[in-house]
Each structure stands twice: as C-alpha cells, then as structure tokens.
C-alpha cells in the first residue's frame, strides 16, 4: 500500500481537468441526445435527425469532407511522391515540409478571407482570368460559396496535412523492395500496384480518415466564407447553439452526438490503420 498507494495523487490534477473540461461536457451532450425535455430516456431525438433539413446538412457535410479528403490525399500524395522519389533536388524537401507545417495550421477565418480575395467576385484570379483570357468563372457557374468553393478552400489545409503525414511513410519504402521487384522482372507499374501501394495502403486510408474528420469538424472557415448560406452540419449546430433555430434543444444535442459519432469513427479508422501501417516501418 505504501509503495503504490499515493502515486495516483500525482495525476489527479490532469484527470480532474480532463473530466471537467472534456469528458463531462461531452457526456452531457451525449446524454442530452437521449433525453426528452423532462429528462426521461428517449430515442425520439435521434429519430428527429431524419428530418429532411438535417439529413441534407449531414449529406452535404459528408460530401464536402469526402471530396476534400480524397483530393487532399491524391494531390498531397502526388507532391510527396514527387519530392521523395521524383528525382528532384534535395533542397526542395525542407522548404516544402516547413510550408506544409504552416499551411496546415493556417485555417479558420483568415483562410476564408484569403480565398475571397483570390477567387471571390472581385478576387485576383477571377479578375486576371477575365482580363487575360476572357474567362468569367462566375458566369460559368462557379461560386466560392458552394460545394466546390468550400472544397477548394479546405484543400489549403488538407493537402499540407497529407504531405506532412505521408512523406515519412514514402521515405520508409525500402530501396531493396524496388530492386527485388525489378530483379524479378516487374515493371514500374507492377511494382507500384503489387508492392508499394499495398504497403502504403493502411497509411493512405488512415490519413484519409484523419483528413475527413479534420474537415468535418471545421466551423470557422465555412462560417466566415459562407455565413449561413451553406447549411453544413457544423454551421447548423453553430446557429442552433446561438439561437435554437431547430426550436428543440434536444435535437441540437442529437446533432452534436451525430458529429461525434462520425468524427469518432473516422479517427478510429485512422488509429487502426496506423497501427497496421507501422508493421512495415521497422
């Protein structure tokens, strides 16, 4: 008892903090999602999520998160692969990683401003395209305050995050594997399809899940960019917390619960895939 008994006291402050400001508030929302206004257990709130307005907000949120995660993975992978194995000079890597560190943290309100100044109605790129090439992207149906506009904006932090995570994985591909494949007569395409991609697959899928969760929970960028004109889940929840737009507080808790479930599943996928990926990285 004397050896072990008092050691736990040292972690009490941490657990108290985590309980008060992380677990209890979250639990409170989760419990609220299963209660009616009188405090009794009910599944009616979750059933209420099936109203067309909420379903469509989840649908568009998931679509934007999927699109920005897929494109973020593909483009980030292409850039990382170009740097690691594309025969580029070595000095490219340092600045790219530094820039990725900065850009993956440059989210929120200023990012929205940057894209409005660039691709908004009087933004630099919009104007230059019109003056130099006579292309009016807004007349062609482009709108920054839309699905593609938001996806394009989210890519600004999604691609760098992908580069930061996947570059070490690409560097972990051993030269011997490629040489062994070539000795056995494999083409470059066969090497990628049958050796490199299967090894990288858990990393790729895991990072994809992380990017998905990353954009699913983002509020500030979307809010500053679109106001409340595009009703994705975080924006609707924001409006609900501010002014109870759903006219049912417990439906708000159910929505928040839905968000936790989705980001939770995505992160679970990331953790599982990561531990599988690490098997090859010794």
């Amino acid at each position: 008892m004397s050896r072990f008994g008092w050691n736990w006291l040292g972690v009490v402050p941490f657990f108290a903090f985590a309980a008060l400001f992380l677990m209890l508030p979250t639990m409170n929302i989760v419990i609220g999602a299963f209660q009616n206004p009188e405090g009794h257990f009910t599944l009616a709130n979750l059933a209420g999520l099936s109203s067309p307005r909420i379903v469509s907000s989840f649908a568009i949120s998931i679509k934007i998160s999927l699109a920005s995660a897929i494109l973020g993975c593909l483009i980030g992978f292409a850039i990382a692969a170009a740097v690691v194995m594309g025969g580029l000079p070595g000095w490219v890597r340092g600045p790219l990683m530094t820039f990725s560190g900065v850009a993956s943290n440059f989210a929120g309100v200023p990012l929205a401003f940057a894209f409005i100044a660039t691709l908004g109605r009087v933004g630099l790129v919009t104007m230059l395209l019109r003056q130099w090439f006579g292309i009016n992207i807004y007349a062609m149906g482009f709108n920054l305050l839309s699905f593609w506009g938001l996806t394009l904006t989210y890519l600004f932090f999604q691609i760098p995050l992908m580069i930061l995570i996947i570059t070490p994985a690409l560097e972990g591909l051993k030269r011997e594997w490629r040489e062994a494949a070539e000795v056995l007569g494999a083409s470059t395409g066969q090497y990628w399809r049958m050796v490199a991609l299967p090894i990288l697959f858990p990393s790729l899928l895991g990072t994809f899940a992380l990017l998905f969760a990353n954009s699913f929970g983002a509020v500030a960028t979307a809010y500053a960019l679109t106001g409340s004109s595009l009703s994705i889940v975080p924006i609707m929840l924001f409006a609900q917390i501010r002014g109870d737009v759903l006219q049912d507080p417990h439906l708000g808790y159910a929505m928040a619960f839905g968000m936790i479930v989705i980001t939770g599943l995505a992160n679970l996928a990331y953790v599982i895939m990561r531990s599988r990926a690490e098997r090859w990285m010794r």
């Binding site: 609220g32 292409a78 850039i79 900065v102 309100v109 660039t118 933004g123 928040a256 992160n267």
Partner: protein
C-alpha cells in the same frame, strides 16, 4: 520523364498555394482607387477594436500556454516516473480533443456551466474567461502533451529524480528547476503551436461571447471589403512566425542534444 511529372506536381501545387497568398496581399493593397496603398493596414491598426481583441487573444494564448504547461509537464513526468501503466490512458485522453469537435465541447460547456448549474461559470465575465481559457487548454492538449512527452523520452527521468532527491530537492523543485529546463525546447514548440491555434480561434470564443480576435475578424469580414485581406496577411505572418520560431527552437535543441 519522371522529373517532368515531378516538377509538374510541384509547380501546380506551388501555384495553388501561392495564388491565394498573392491574391490576398494584392487585395489588401487595393483600398485606394487606382493605386496600391497601405490604407487597409492603417485602417485595421487604427481600429481600437483590433487592438482590444488582439490584445485579449494574445493574453489568452499566453495564459493557455501557462495552464497547459502546468497541467502537462507534471503529469507526463509523473506518469513516466511512477505510473507507466497509465500512459496509454493518458495518451488516449490527450487525443480526444482531436476526435471531439470543438463546437461540441463548447456546447457542453454552455450546458454544464450555465447560470442555473452548480458551477455557474458563464454567469460572470471572469468566469467565462476562465471557461474559455480551459477550453483553449483542452484544444492545445494533444500538441502540448505530444511535444512534452517526446522531450521527456530523451531524458533519464528516474536517474535525474534520484540524483535530485539525494541532494534534498522536493517535488516542486525537481519539476521546476530540473525537469522543466530540460524539456524547455519541447515545451516551447508546443507553446508556439498553442499560440498559433489560440490567436485566431473562432468557434469557442464566438459561442461563449468573448471579445476575442477570431470573432472580430469574422465580424470585420462580414462588413468590410479590404480590411479582412489585410487581417489575413497579418494572421498568415503570425502563423508563419510561430511555426518558424518553433522549427528554429527544435533545431537548436536538436543540435545541443547531438553535441552532448
């Protein structure tokens, strides 16, 4: 051929990332009709609300760093020294803020600490400030813990502690005068990341109704044309500064470690 595609990928990537930055910079200079000027910056810097909210957020960021260090350093140290079995649990908890969206956490705060609860923090301005501070420390927890834990892994915690104890040092002295200076590089990198996160944070501050920089920027963006671009340039420079200092410090710390 491979080189051609590689350069292609890099150049397209660079275009995508540089154009918004150039576009923002150009837009921020356009306030005066027909010529480039710094009017937008002048207008932003002269706005008393800018100074007030920026000052508030800087203060919040510094307080977040102090609170984060106070929570994380003793915990990470103690777990390594005495409770290694708890490490996975602590690590899991520190990852939770990445899983639970900030908007849900702050929703919980509003419900749990409202004026009719046992702990009515949202009833007063100072109580709400405290709540926001704790929220920020929660957001920074994953980065702070990771940084400090990595820093601690390079030390022989047990031997250092025993040496200090045999010289008669108490716990506060061991953590303050021995452990903290040894993981200072790691703490600093966690601190700069926390600073970058807190300085422009929008969701928590807006929903708790605090006069922070994030909500100010959003409000300005809804009402003005050129000033937001100037703010975005300032914010990007601040993020760049934080990350640059972070890398510099970790490089210096790394050099010192290898030199030993």
């Amino acid at each position: 051929m491979r080189k051609f595609w590689s350069w292609g990928a890099i150049i397209i990537g660079a275009l995508y990332f540089l154009l918004p930055l150039i576009g923002t910079l150009e837009f921020s200079l356009r306030m005066r009709r027909g010529e480039y000027s710094l009017d937008a910056y002048r207008s932003v810097l002269a706005d008393p609300n800018f100074r007030a909210t920026f000052g508030y957020s800087v203060g919040m960021a510094l307080a977040t760093i102090v609170l984060g260090v106070l929570i994380v350093v003793p915990t990470a140290y103690w777990v390594r020294l005495r409770l290694p079995r708890l490490r996975p649990v602590i690590e899991f908890i520190t990852l939770l803020p990445l899983v639970i969206p900030a908007i849900v956490v702050v929703f919980g705060y509003i419900r749990l600490y409202n004026t009719s609860s046992i702990l009515p923090l949202t009833g007063t301005a100072s109580g709400t400030n405290l709540l926001l501070l704790c929220g920020y420390a929660t957001l920074a927890l994953p980065y702070m813990y990771r940084a400090v834990d990595t820093g601690l892994s390079t030390l022989d915690v047990r031997t250092l502690t025993e040496a200090a104890q045999s010289l008669g040092a108490g716990w506060v002295r061991i953590i303050g005068n021995l452990i903290l200076p040894n993981v200072l590089g790691a703490v600093m990198s966690g601190a700069f990341l926390s600073f970058a996160i807190v300085i422009g944070e929008f969701t928590m501050a807006a929903l708790l109704n605090r006069p922070a920089f994030g909500p100010y920027m959003q409000l300005l963006g809804a009402n003005r044309a050129y000033e937001p671009a100037a703010l975005a340039v300032i914010a990007f420079a601040a993020t760049w500064g934080c990350m640059g200092l972070m890398q510099l410090i970790s490089r210096i710390a790394g050099v010192r470690k290898t030199a030993k």
